[in-house]
Homo-oligomer: 211 residues x 4
DNA sequence: TATGAATGAGACTTCATTCAT
DNA sequence: AATGAATGAAGTCTCATTCAT
């Protein structure tokens, strides 16, 4: 009577994608609380209840998006870490690729910022932990790249963990400035400049820097 | 006359302060939407309705807090802009003072980040505009300091507006990294290091840099 | 230390009057619920708490106003009832005088309509009863006037109570039409016309009418 | 297909009707402000939130009721205007039919009176305008009927707009008297009597009346 | 699989009234 | 007599989630 074959996986994935698209739009515009499941399902062209067949909760949906983007960024950093060539070159490439990624996924970037602010409230401890793991992986990969540079003699003996924080912080700070001043501020250029400054600092002859 | 006078301004300010303290706590922990007027008034030791004697709306209360902190930061930057001495010295002092301010007002910092994310939804256009004005003032003061350095011959002829964005972005990015990794990350040190790198870049003999 | 002679009665009455003026304004514009004691006291130039020195509750204040107007109208009808001369003449005079009263006290008229609608909710049973007594007095006086006309031979033997209802209903219906269409509808003229029609009907030779 | 269809219109209408029934009860007893959505939904046997699936706001619900009744009355008047036969006959029929309608829908009548008083506060300007349009339509239809009578020679050349106001005013005044004195006052009889008086006046040989 | 009507906890805010001064 | 800060009950409305079809 009501039986019907389950949608093949790819169909399910397509529909999930439609929901995610709609969710990105509203989450990135309004943040987690202000975006309603109602507007998301409407934009996705499904009924309110259907959402819950694809995602258990609103939180789950939100996390899926955060996860997608962080995964992408993590993969980018890890790819650069695992690539061949001098660390310097790979760091420069990272700056360019990150800027490209941000430019491509501006809505995702906005969304990430929205959620970052109240992640501790938006997400259950479980999810917060998962987000933390992503960031840790990114930080570690950055630190690894620095260590590679140290080992290869490109960089001085610096505190790789500390400078990983700095690189990530700068990247995010410039990204934010860009998101809030898109027309005026050239993020990609700033990324490159700052990366150059940092790399020069990493390379600088001992005796001048201390960290 | 027998009539009791209205609370003198300072008493009113003290009571307002009590409410603000409670509000900072919850807003900075949970963000605007998740913090309820109920828990704020309870923590402030007043009745639910009393809040509205001091602030017209929850939004007004939130904005008062944002405003306080941004005002403080703006004053700091403008003080450094108007102080005597080489721009280089003043920029270094700014880095130190900013780190001090953040350390002192960590809760305020958290709150600012929470609200920044969904300010466009939290605050009415009127308020968003006022926030923007604060940030503009800060950016302008930073650009002014750079221009002063250029005029005095300390710095090369660089695009002061662009580098003001960079300074602000870096400051905020490092602040964020600190807020999320308080124990591991030394914000003050990073502020100083980055400021030194930037100042060295501003001073660098022409022919090497391009911006 | 705080002792002072009580205000002499006339001063108290003057202040009460100021409050009533303000109250009429807001009650007549917005009705009982929507008018707030806050705006009334502000307009009256007194503190919120002071209102309660003059009136026990908002309801009391409202009733005082209703009472004033109904008292005025009752006095008018009873004056006409007790005056000398043919009932016909006195009814005609009543129509004119009522129109004059309404014109003079338009705000009061509006207020009466507002309160009439939800009097059962606005006023406690006690007050509703008092309002009812006013209306009964008015109805009785009208019926008395008809009876006087019957006894004097001016009118046929009609049901005086029934026609008192009719007179009052018509008066109020036309008053309402006037309040809602002030510019277009000539209440005074309509009052006179309808009174003439009714009086003619009361006088009409038996054999034609039936009531 | 397995999907259940949305409630068909008639089912929705039935459920809406249940809510309206409950709403009429409380609005007509207490007026707009004093009636709470809580008691309405409780009486309708639904959850508090469900109300908002059927009506956007409390105001919307209230307006739907007002609209229903005014629509009914408007249709009645327009039906009489468009019917065949002498205007006199049609006016008489109108009186009877209106009395019947009122008797049938007493709760609606009460409600209309409640809302009429503070409609300007209860309803947004948009809705007030819609109410006004209903009353205008009723007034115009009445004036049209008078004009028809004039053209057909039944009535003298009187000011049809003015007398439409009078007819409506009288109808409403008597209705009100009835609502407040149900047991004592015979509205239907009064309607007929007054209509007869008015029609006689409209027909009266020229030279006596002036309007 | 999909629907959408229904739920109900909980949010912000208003405002008549009180009371220490 | 007068003040106005404080109260807190109560009201309307939102929205994530459920569940009978």
């Amino acid at each position: 009577m009501c039986a019907r074959k389950a949608d093949p996986p790819e169909i399910r994935a397509i529909k999930e994608g439609k929901i995610k698209q709609a969710a990105i739009k509203f989450f990135s515009e309004k943040g987690f609380h202000a975006a309603t499941t109602g507007e998301i399902t409407e934009a996705a062209g499904i009924a309110k209840g259907t959402l819950y067949w694809y995602f258990n909760t609103k939180e789950d949906l939100a996390f899926a998006l955060v996860s997608d983007m962080l995964e992408e960024f993590r993969k980018l950093v890890e790819e650069m870490r695992d690539a061949r060539g001098p660390a310097t070159t790979r760091f420069r490439k990272l700056a360019t690729r990150a800027a490209e990624l941000y430019n491509q996924e501006k809505a995702y970037c906005r969304l990430l910022w929205k959620f970052r602010a109240d992640q501790h409230y938006v997400f259950s401890p479980d999810y917060v932990e998962k987000v933390r793991i992503y960031y840790d992986a990114i930080l570690s990969a950055l630190a690894d790249m620095i260590d590679q540079g140290i080992r290869s003699g490109e960089f001085r003996r610096i505190n790789s963990r500390h400078w990983a924080f700095v690189i990530l912080g700068i990247t995010e700070g410039l990204e934010l400035e860009w998101l809030e001043n898109e027309d005026e501020f050239d993020m990609e250029k700033a990324f490159r400049e700052m990366m150059d400054l940092l790399l020069a600092h990493f390379r600088k002859a001992p005796g001048k820097g201390r960290s």
